[in-house]
Symmetry: C2
Subunit: 307 residues, 2 copies
């Protein structure tokens, strides 16, 4: 049994590699839901959907979000009604949000809705939202707070970040199966996701960090930072302002309490000693997942790092 903590695109690509090298039915993925938000009356879960679509091989490989071959007739039609349409929901993607929202309104938990959606896509791995309770990542900027997608998509990550908080995390409980999946797994993987806004919200849910600490010897992370820069996304704009060094060493320090081993890019081999100095075993590998073959090799190397 393997349990992975995951955010969006980077995690999705890594997981697609993972299911090439292990039995997909043995994999549980705990997914960040701090990015979730309401758009046009529909509940949208960007990371759950990115992982789902990517594991199904249906993702848009160019944009990194949404479905391949997507169209945007509905969102464009919404402009007539003065709706904010900066969050570009695709027509086929909307079907997912319609189904999920209807299930939630009928009383289903997000876990139950996710199980229905992933079954419809024929996924063998089990996807769990980190919590069935609402946790909303909020980005403090000059003049106030933005919802995650407002900062990330609407504002294109431009307003300097003053702080990050996970609204609701204090009262949230881990979704059914999340803590057990961490405690029972042979290996726990921290996918190459943004430490602050992808992995951070998962850690903020009561019980998750403690479970990871208890399994520290079996927890292995993959640094999303290569040569001091995120592969994709705004990790640098979030880590720096929060006092986290934008490097694989900074990631190691963040994860040291609950993560015994960190896979870093071969190009960062010179940082191994610094990582070992904070008590984390560093292993180098090719971490830039340019294609599915590299992703599979990275997954194999990551599992081997704690074998």
């Amino acid at each position: 049994m393997i349990t992975a903590l995951a955010g969006g695109v980077g995690a999705a690509r890594f997981l697609r590699g993972l299911v090439q090298v292990v039995d997909p039915a043995e994999v549980t993925v705990v997914v960040n839901t701090g990015d979730d938000d309401w758009f046009h009356g529909l509940y949208v879960c960007p990371d759950l959907d990115s992982v789902t679509y990517t594991l199904a091989g249906a993702q848009n490989a160019e944009t990194g979000w949404g479905l391949a071959g997507e169209t945007f007739a509905t969102i464009d039609a919404l402009t007539r009604y003065g709706a904010d349409t900066w969050f570009r929901l695709g027509d086929r993607d909307l079907a997912t949000h319609l189904v999920r929202t209807q299930l939630l309104r009928e009383g289903a938990t997000l876990s139950e809705a996710t199980a229905r959606i992933t079954a419809a896509w024929g996924l063998a791995p089990r996807l769990l939202p980190m919590s069935d309770d609402r946790v909303a990542t909020r980005i403090a900027v000059a003049g106030g707070e933005l919802a995650m997608q407002e900062w990330f998509v609407r504002e294109q990550c431009e307003p300097p970040v003053l702080g990050v908080r996970f609204d609701g995390a204090g009262a949230a409980t881990a979704a059914p199966g999340v803590v057990d999946a961490i405690l029972a797994a042979e290996t726990v993987l921290i996918c190459p996701s943004n430490p602050v806004i992808s992995i951070g919200p998962i850690l903020a849910v009561a019980g998750v960090r403690d479970a990871l600490v208890a399994r520290r010897d079996r927890v292995v992370g993959v640094s999303p930072i290569i040569a001091g820069r995120p592969v994709k996304g705004p990790a640098d704009r979030l880590m720096g302002p929060l006092g986290i060094d934008v490097s694989c060493v900074g990631v190691a320090r963040e994860y040291a309490e609950f993560c015994s081993t960190l896979v870093i890019d071969a190009g960062d081999a010179s940082r191994v000693a610094e990582i070992e100095a904070v008590g984390v075993h560093a292993v180098t590998a090719e971490t830039l997942m340019t294609d599915a073959r590299v992703a599979a090799a990275l997954a194999r190397d990551t599992l081997a790092a704690v074998a």
Copy 2:
């Protein structure tokens, strides 16, 4: 001031003619909402939307429903989730349902949502739902009852009709402005719509029939039945089983209490005496609206019939 009672396609075509021959801003349209229903968590108002799209010149002229040049990516994508997709909601049409549903969930009345939607389409006529309360047309068939769209679209009008009722009509009140619009209008038009399931629900709302009776001298209808057959739609399958003769004479009898004048097709001129015999003045005109020019002429003839 002109007030029109309207169902879907036939009414929409007639109204498009009407606004060619009178000041559109002087027109109030009271629209049937008995066909409204929930699909995929969205509140859909087929007749309000048919009238809106047609008055905006955006309707699909071939099918008679939905928008011209429409696509169906979302509804097709819903099949993956096992959703019932016999009600073919188009992608651009979905924007209307998303906006309306969100407004309703935020506490707006259907009247308020309709005002927002028609303003977005730049309509000059005022569109009013017959009621802000839910009234659901139910079709009794062998073995039970069907929702209107189930019988009409899913079952293609095939199950023989045993009865029709308007669930909720007893407790429904007319939407703000409806009764006043009837009482204050110089002329009240009954559009060429299905007497049973388009005009019937409007009449079932408390206060509407009484207001029409009070204005009987100024109420003029247009028969949707030509030569014993509906131009479009299932009026024959509904009128017959309910004991209404499928003819302009049957329509006249249904409307006689509140309608002083009925415009019938020139081809039905032989029925004039029968209509006059039930106390309704019959006027012949070209009623088959093959194009906008004919619709405008029919509107002019209809207004002249009570001038």
